[in-house]
Amino acid sequence: MKTTTKLWIGLGIFILLSPLGLMLPELFKAGDAWGEWGTDGIKELIGYIPRGLEKLSSFWSAPMPDYAFKGWEEKGLTHLSFAYIISAVLGIIIITAVILLLGKFISKKED
């Protein structure tokens, strides 16, 4: 088997295991990454929402915020894990497509 094939399989395993990245923080009661709090989180920390931050924080509405489907914020861990895996698959498909396309323009012909 070609090494690249094996690496793709490896990536597939990472995709299936990715919900660990949701479950472990939940299990160990760990919150947001430092500096990545939402507006509610920052209000809890410092007592107010900085005005510029509040304005800019809604600058972009991502189609799958936090690697979940819109409106799934309150769903349980099983649903969120499913959405997480779908996000990983989608993300990797898009990234691969972009790189293969870019690769047509930014690689030299075989020597």
Partner: protein
């Protein structure tokens, strides 16, 4: 380390886009001359790996979370300029599709993870590896140390961007406008957690993949050696 929209003021965001534009342009130029078309699948794998490894949030019990970036692995396998492009693509997809990292902060996040981490990691790996054989244990150790140090320097860079906001922007009332924490809080927080936990994750992941490739297909590592910086 994905700075969201709203934490950096317009000046910081603008400056970092302005810094990254020529880096992206130069990277494309270099890669066009050096990347073989048969290496393109590896470029896609490196970007996909970086994307998925960043989904593995590692908890600090009762505290925050963080993750590896995979940028140093990309740099070792493809050279720093191609790695810069791979990690940039991963970060842009994360920001646009998943709201992980702000749109206004794409320049900043790419600077930290696709430029600083990539180049620091690459040169540390090169310096420690020296002229050792591509299947030597020294390379595995070099990869680990490069991963650990590079993600910490990237975290430091992110902390500086966070930390200068209170100096740059403040309302008349004294309230912060963007990131409310100064350098005295941001640097110990970001650097501390990466030195303690996330740096080790990056080190182990990077070293293990290199170790695997040494056994599985040293040719890939040989090809990597021929990449022009």
């Amino acid at each position: 380390m994905h700075i969201p929209d709203g934490y950096l003021g317009p000046a910081t965001c603008g400056v970092l886009y302005a810094v990254m534009l020529p880096i992206w342009a130069f990277a494309s130029k270099i890669v066009k001359k050096t990347l073989r078309s048969r290496q393109v699948p590896m470029l896609a794998i490196a970007a996909a790996f970086s994307f998925v490894i960043m989904m593995f949030n590692v908890p600090i019990p009762g505290g925050t979370t963080g993750h590896a970036v995979g940028a140093v692995l990309a740099a070792i396998l493809l050279g720093p300029w191609a790695a810069c492009i791979a990690v940039t693509v991963a970060l842009v997809v994360q920001a646009l599709l998943f709201g992980d990292g702000g749109i206004t902060a794409i320049g900043a996040n790419c600077f930290n993870m696709a430029f600083v981490e990539v180049f620091v990691g690459y040169y540390i790996y090169k310096i420690i590896s020296g002229h050792s054989s591509v299947i030597s244990a020294r390379r595995v150790i070099a990869a680990g140390i490069a991963g650990y140090v590079a993600i910490n320097i990237a975290a430091f860079s992110a902390a500086v961007l966070f930390g200068i906001q209170p100096l740059l922007h403040r309302a008349a009332s004294g309230e912060s406008l963007y990131c409310p924490y100064g350098l005295n809080v941001a640097i110990p927080a970001m650097l501390g957690e990466h030195m303690l936990i996330f740096g080790w994750v990056e080190a182990i992941v990077t070293a293990m993949v290199i170790k695997y490739l040494q056994k599985q297909d040293p040719n890939i590592l040989e090809t990597a050696e021929e990449v022009i910086e």
